[in-house]
Subunit: 634 residues, 2 copies
């Protein structure tokens, strides 16, 4: 199935297959219908045996493709996170979605989803009315254009703007048509407390990144001071989505795999291995194209995308490091089964980015739900390391010896300690620390202020006075420009962050590899690459005749010893039905044990997609299976 023949895809049929074969299921499903259930299990999913094996294989290949191939340092950090950490990172204040309450129904609706859903419905109605269907409403043509334009850049609207749209276009809850209250921000983090005293607030992490940032200094030391380097973390993250729908695509607990690539901002433009990938062509949709109202993808080599297009001279991708990762992400997605015709890289619009990002490209996969963000590749600049270092007073930076020392002009603040101690007593140390932490730009401004007013205000940690700042007069504080010889250079690295939503990738790939035999829509097939297929080999004795059992068992044990996941199906259903079941499970190979096997030891090997069969000796068949599983043959 290619991107243009989407109409042949039936989501109900597809979902029925996934449910029937237990790829995943709603968590706590039997509680949903239990008497007096007060819970909310929406957005929570369990993976069944094939889903779980597929996920493990996708993660395993991620480790090979990124951690081993790029020599990344993997960490495993906790999901429980002290509130202070996420306050500093900005998540407590800014990691929120806007929601509207419908007082009549007592329902909470995510504001952007509400606007999107209602405007799309009106446009669909309009299209049907234009096509002559009487019971639909035609829109004024300027209104229809407005709606199109709003939808094209919906991610660019904040809460107040969404509120204005809701007011202006009288957007109501589709369930009951009730008016909704104006959008209010809802923080998406799950909150709890740790320890018996209940005094210590925590959140469940909404991303794995913060744990990696806080370990920066230890990672640098582990890498013996060598830059650039990358860390990675694979683990569950948690977002208390307002009203999750769309199955695995919007869930409240999900597996992420995140890389934090730390670079010297002075040399971040280049990447050591960029030349290896410069010719790879990527399907790109940049910011300018979107702002001009278009969504068409251009195929461009990453070399041109970074170093300037031959035609226009434009460089939509900022630097080699970002470009290198986009290619590596692309190759990974194709390897695990994504359809190249349904992959694109879309650059974020300005208002769409997370609070910490200065640029972001998403790898999006086309599904029956539209284009889905599966991998975000953000430039977080030095934001996180800077805020944590500032808050904790612990360094999160790199210090390198200069080959040639340099003389620099620098602002320097000095405190008159003889006055400071007696005047501020216990607070004196905090004030010293606050002054020492001032950066060059702030010092320059304060020097100016001090010269003009003979008094300055410096922010501090909370003092005995209850204040979080202190006034320092010229008798206690002086600021002047001094010459300094710097033998070392200190810098806070920039961070490029490729962040993978494993569940979204898994679901989208399943849509991409799903098709059905031409003769029968009910005979679904999942053409998963053998690399990630949950089970590699089905072993099927032709009948349940006792003579076939020992051979079957021996064969299964032999494959297990080779660590090749296999499944024996000795049930009495026809061999065709057993193969059909395994086509739905995505099992690429089938081995049949029959009466010839008893006679001469030969086996039949069947390939899932072509249904081609070959007959050979057990050793030859095992040899072929190993070659296929290890990717030496196709």
């Amino acid at each position: 199935m290619d991107a243009t023949s989407k109409s042949s895809f039936s989501r109900p049929q597809f979902e029925s297959l996934l449910k029937r074969r237990f790829f995943f299921t709603e968590s706590f499903e039997i509680y949903r219908t239990a008497p007096n259930f007060q819970g909310d299990n929406r957005g929570l999913y369990d993976y069944g045996p094939p889903g779980c094996a597929l996920q493990a294989n996708i993660v395993g290949e991620w480790r090979s493709h990124f951690v081993i191939e790029e020599n990344i340092m993997e960490l495993d950090c906790t999901a429980i996170t002290p509130a202070d950490v996420l306050k500093t990172s900005g998540h407590v204040d800014k990691f929120a979605d806007y929601m509207c309450r419908d007082p009549a129904k007592g329902e909470f609706l995510r504001a952007d989803h509400l606007v999107k859903g209602v405007l799309e419905t009106r446009l669909e109605g309009h299209a049907k009315a234009v096509a002559g269907q009487a019971k639909f409403t035609k829109l004024d043509s300027t209104v229809a254009q407005e709606f199109e334009s709003i939808l094209a850049q919906l991610d660019n609207y904040g809460g107040p703007e969404l509120g204005e749209l809701i007011e202006m276009y009288d957007i109501r809850n589709p369930n009951g048509n009730g008016k909704v209250l104006p959008p209010v921000p809802f923080n998406l983090m799950f909150q709890s407390t740790i320890g018996p005293s209940a005094a210590a607030p925590i959140y469940l992490r909404p991303e794995t990144a913060q744990g990696q940032f806080l370990n920066f200094q230890k990672l640098l030391e582990f890498r013996r001071g060598a830059m650039p380097f990358a860390s990675a973390c694979i683990g569950k993250s948690y977002r208390n989505e307002i009203s999750p729908r769309s199955g695995l695509l919007r869930v409240r607990e999900f597996l992420m795999a995140e890389i934090e690539h730390f670079v010297d901002p002075d040399t971040s433009k280049s990447h050591e291995r960029f030349s290896e990938v410069a010719d790879v062509q990527l399907p790109l949709l940049d910011r300018d194209t979107q702002l001009s109202g278009r969504t068409d993808v251009r195929l461009l080599s990453i070399g041109e995308a970074v170093h300037g297009e031959i035609k226009t001279g434009k460089s939509p991708v900022d630097n080699e490091t970002l470009g290198y990762f986009l290619v590596r992400i692309y190759l990974y997605l194709l390897k695990i089964g994504a359809d190249p015709a349904r992959v694109r890289f879309r650059q974020h619009l300005d208002n769409e980015m997370a609070h910490y990002a200065s640029d972001c490209w998403d790898a999006e996969l086309l599904t029956s739900y539209g284009w889905i963000e599966c991998v975000g590749c953000a430039d977080r600049s030095a934001y996180d390391l800077t805020v944590h270092a500032k808050h904790t007073g612990s360094p999160l930076n790199v210090e390198v010896t200069r080959t040639v020392p340099v003389e620099v002009d620098a602002w320097q603040a000095d405190l008159e300690k003889k006055v400071l101690g007696p005047r501020f007593k216990k607070d004196a140390k905090k004030i010293e620390a606050a002054v020492a932490a001032l950066d060059q730009v702030t010092l320059a401004n304060l020097a100016d202020e001090l010269a003009r007013k003979a008094i300055i205000t410096v922010p501090t940690e909370p003092l005995a006075t209850g204040e979080s700042s202190v006034e320092l007069s010229a008798d206690i504080c002086s600021i002047q420009k001094v010459k300094r010889i710097e033998h070392t250079r200190k810098y806070t690295p920039n961070v490029i962050e490729p962040s993978f939503g494993i569940g979204r990738i898994l679901y989208s790939v399943l849509e991409h590899v799903y098709w059905h035999r031409p003769d029968d829509v009910a005979r679904g097939v999942l053409s998963l690459p053998i690399l990630v297929a949950p089970t590699k080999v089905l072993i099927a004795p032709l009948s349940n005749n006792a003579t076939l059992q020992p051979i079957t068992k021996k064969l299964a044990a032999r494959l297990r010893r080779l660590r090749i996941a296999n499944d024996v199906d000795s049930s009495s259903t026809s061999i065709g039905k057993r193969y059909a079941r395994n086509d739905e499970l995505g099992t690429p190979l089938g081995v049949t044990v029959d009466f010839d096997t008893v006679q001469n030891g030969s086996l039949t090997l069947r390939e899932r997609d072509s249904m081609a069969q070959v007959r050979a000796s057990e050793d030859e068949i095992i040899q072929a299976i190993c070659s296929l599983v290890e990717g030496r043959e196709t």
Copy 2:
């Protein structure tokens, strides 16, 4: 190092190695010392690159050894769990530890740890006093005996008994010697809410098991109805420990790997593959031995342990299924590096077991903290499936066709629907459901009561009246014994649960494989099996001469393509220091690139434990590395 030479083990030296090589670290360490930090990060640890790789390899081998070898169905269930589920499972009411508050210090102490610590300190003081050290206190000899006896069965005491001990022996907070308040239960689950309305309470799971139980019916269907079968889940669980200490051994967020093996209670005594392991000898410490005050381990073949000891006829291990798993656990632990002299299987005492368990054997590893429970192997009987099925009204059981139908006497309750409907209106359906759910024993009792009093009380879901039970008089309800032909047999399976604490295993194994070169205590070595070693091969160019770089790079790339984790150390430190660093990281193999390599392509391969070196061609060296990594050679 064997169990008897523990004195040569220096924990500070060992911990310094783990910290220096970033196996793991306190999470959010830089926040711990940040100004005004209000959090509590105790019991939270991040794994650094070698710890994380070791963990991934331990988990990978777990998947091979259990999931693939035993054909177990792996699930991935959510950690977020609706409160209703854990109320039903008994965790909300019973999953608690007892704690004492010291009002003077504002500290919370775990009651059993308090008693243990204080009594052990007094006994140590006693021993020193007996040995003639003047500043220690001698105890009365009966008191010393009492203390010994209390400590031997401490796990057998509940909260009130611990309170009595604290009172009787005037046990106080060692920090400040303040009196503590009586023990109160503290539930160990982290609590939060889900969804925007804050109305839906959730807990973070304290074990992965519940998600597996709730999926029982889907698993049975996936296995096409065939029993017995097992499921497994690998994932993080959460316990809000009162006052965690002992590093990785008592943490608040931890990785578990749990198997739930479901068996027909009528045939659970036997296991299909038991004969394969019957002769394996296990170090056992059974309940009777412990209750007689001894802790000596006996080596016993699992065949004897299950089917009766030749000498005594006793069978300390209840059945083949349990015995089979004990052996498989034992083999797994040895494979990943546990020292057989420091492994034992200890049976739980009656009061020590979790509320759901009817028998339990722990695999314990001996560490510098004493014997540590690393794997629990509990018989949960049909407890969990029964309570969830009863609460939800959804079946969690197996129905098999009888080969020969049987006639059975059964109690049957009939309701007079013509009276029921008008009298109870909306509640009628709930009453019908409640009566239909009554089991045979209850029905027999109610039949008797109905005959005597002409009225019975039946528990129900909450009714419109606000009551959770209803009175049914003889005019509306009759109960009699009827003969029934049963063509099928319905049963709720028993569950055997091997439950692995991955962090505890990882830490204990690290202690087991740690030693130092005879000549130098500072030269630590971690003799991790190659199977689980974080990095398999160190590649070390002899010097940073430019001619060695391309060969080094090519070699690293070749190993990466074979998916063999390797690390290049081109630093200018001596080759000896680079090997010493990798001995501490547990890297089993080292390849040196030198000027002979430039000349003739030969490389040197070094083995970590013996420090033996061989020289051969690149192809031969790669061949040897592959054989070793795949376990074909040692």
